[in-house]
Symmetry: C2
Subunit: 335 residues, 2 copies
């Protein structure tokens, strides 16, 4: 089952979307918003699934689904907690600045509490007031949970995953060092994230959902050129079950909690930092990583951060090369 | 005007509460929940104020208001961002561990993104799975905002303040050093916060609301004994307008954003760390601070963190010594 929220008020209007993303059906008689559906999942999931089946059979009134009319599936959420599960990415960033990475990073997940009061839709511009802030994309996988009890095990956590999707976790790189030095984590350096037009239930993913990981290539284009083709299923040190259980160690998580994987990142075949796509590598899911690799190889970063007019595309494909979650496609806008 | 949410479903049921907190009136015909009221504030605030006036005149059906039946006014929220505006508190904590505090802390607010997917009601137990985590109370002032535009000035921020209240920002002190060392801020160390039964509009506070600060004593009792009597209006380096503008520097804030002051803390009259109430001082708004003072004065902390059965009370009084926001009154519960 694939779900989306058409732009409408603060919380969007819930629709069920066909597998090929061409059509959708109004689901608001079952639940007016995706948050409402997640709040009452056990009661409404069956009805939503029936609606999805009827939509595939063209047995109900249906509308064309236009990704540009979609809001983030949860236009605002009660929780957005982003992990850093591709520890390779963290190791590289540390290596570039000559800092050692504690060994504990390989068994104790990094996670930060993100702002969730307003998200960007998949086609919304990325507003940027000051290019000196160092605006970056971060292509990530996310899951949405139901209620997760305090102290949930990894298995309980995995069972609480309701939906899977993608995010562009916009980051202001040049604000990060100052904020992290203050010790309280990210705040100004993490403006609103954007999400894929469609979130899908794990069963829809078939073999692409394994052991709490999305398997397959996460596609990232920057200004129309291939920038990242990393495998989201490889080098993910902590699966989503482990990330959710980490988040629930000292508190229950409310339905509609979004948990992020952190920037997807693959090691090169020889174990070293990945190469650009133009050099036969898998590329990158954020600009900071290519700058890190440039620094390691040639002493200084070369790829600039995002500026007004730059475009970012993020998607993942099924076996027929159709986008599974639709496409995040954003332009940076001054202001 | 005073507002509360009676326990009901995930988001409570909105009521208007009388000034003396004895009575309330169902406001759900105007807005079913406090979040719904904040989402449509310009349209509904007048109707809510009229209902409040009718309630004071006993001109409408009214019910007894029982604080034990109240949820947090926002039982869950889209954003909870907590500042650390009483820089004295930060300076003391640093002094105790022999670390210097950067001068920038006096002009650049500290703020962390807190979890907002589920809050404790004013009488709810504080669940504690492990006393070794070092459970602490933190008595703070909070405001709730309407929509705040990206890049809002302090004046725009002040104008966006809809409600004022109190929180017990529960903290797990012994988990903090490890989390902060990882660089991503608080997560497991900040379980669910509790809020005062009632939030009030700034105009209700009269002289007690000045320049974006709550003026007057924040009362804290620990196990039935006076523990803190600090003045919330004194030593607050950053007023709420400044805190909100800081939060809105790189992103808009959605209606219903809760902004916290951080632990209230007063300097002693001689400029040094405050004394316990039993020694004629104003006491403390968290256990960490008394432990810090004990460490500075006598080399080691003496007051233990919270354990099962301990009780915490937090409130603020009007000129007739009636609680303005009701009382947070919680017992720590194992499990």
């Amino acid at each position: 089952m694939k779900l989306a929220s058409l732009k409408h008020g603060r919380d969007g209007k819930l629709v069920v979307v066909s597998n090929d993303l061409a059509w959708c059906a109004d689901a608001s008689a079952i639940a007016p918003t995706l948050q409402a559906a997640l709040d009452a999942w056990d009661r409404v999931a069956g009805d939503l699934a029936n609606l999805a089946t009827d939509l595939e059979h063209e047995a109900i009134p249906m509308m064309r689904f236009h990704e540009r009319l979609a809001a983030a599936p949860l236009p605002r959420a009660y929780q957005w907690a982003d992990g850093s599960a591709y520890v390779n990415h963290v190791a590289l960033v540390r290596q570039a600045r000559g800092a050692e990475m504690p060994d504990s990073f390989w068994h104790d997940p990094l996670m930060y509490q993100g702002g969730s009061d307003g998200f960007l839709g998949p086609r919304d511009a990325i507003p940027l007031r000051d290019e000196a802030w160092g605006c970056d994309l971060e292509a990530e996988v996310v899951v949405v949970t139901g209620d997760v009890p305090l102290g949930a095990t990894r298995d309980e956590a995995l069972a609480a995953i309701r939906l899977v999707g993608l995010t562009n976790d916009v980051s202001l790189r040049n604000l990060i060092p100052g904020e992290l030095a203050k010790g309280f984590g990210f705040f100004q350096s993490k403006p609103a994230s954007a999400f894929s037009p469609v979130f899908v239930t794990p069963d829809t993913l078939g073999d692409r959902w394994q052991d709490g990981k999305l398997v397959g290539t996460l596609m990232v284009d920057l200004n129309g050129k291939p920038f990242g083709r990393a495998d989201a299923g490889a080098d993910m040190t902590f699966d989503f079950g482990t990330l959710i259980a980490h988040a629930a160690k000292t508190r229950a998580l409310g339905a509609g909690t979004i948990i992020g994987s952190g920037t997807v990142s693959n090691r090169d075949a020889d174990g070293g930092p990945g190469k650009p796509i133009a050099e036969g590598g898998l590329g990158y899911c954020c600009i900071a990583e290519v700058r890190t690799v440039e620094t390691i190889l040639r002493g200084a970063p070369e790829t600039p951060f995002l500026k007004a007019g730059d475009t970012v595309r993020i998607w993942a494909e099924d076996e027929r090369h159709h986008p599974i979650f639709g496409t995040i496609e954003q332009t940076v806008e001054a202001g």
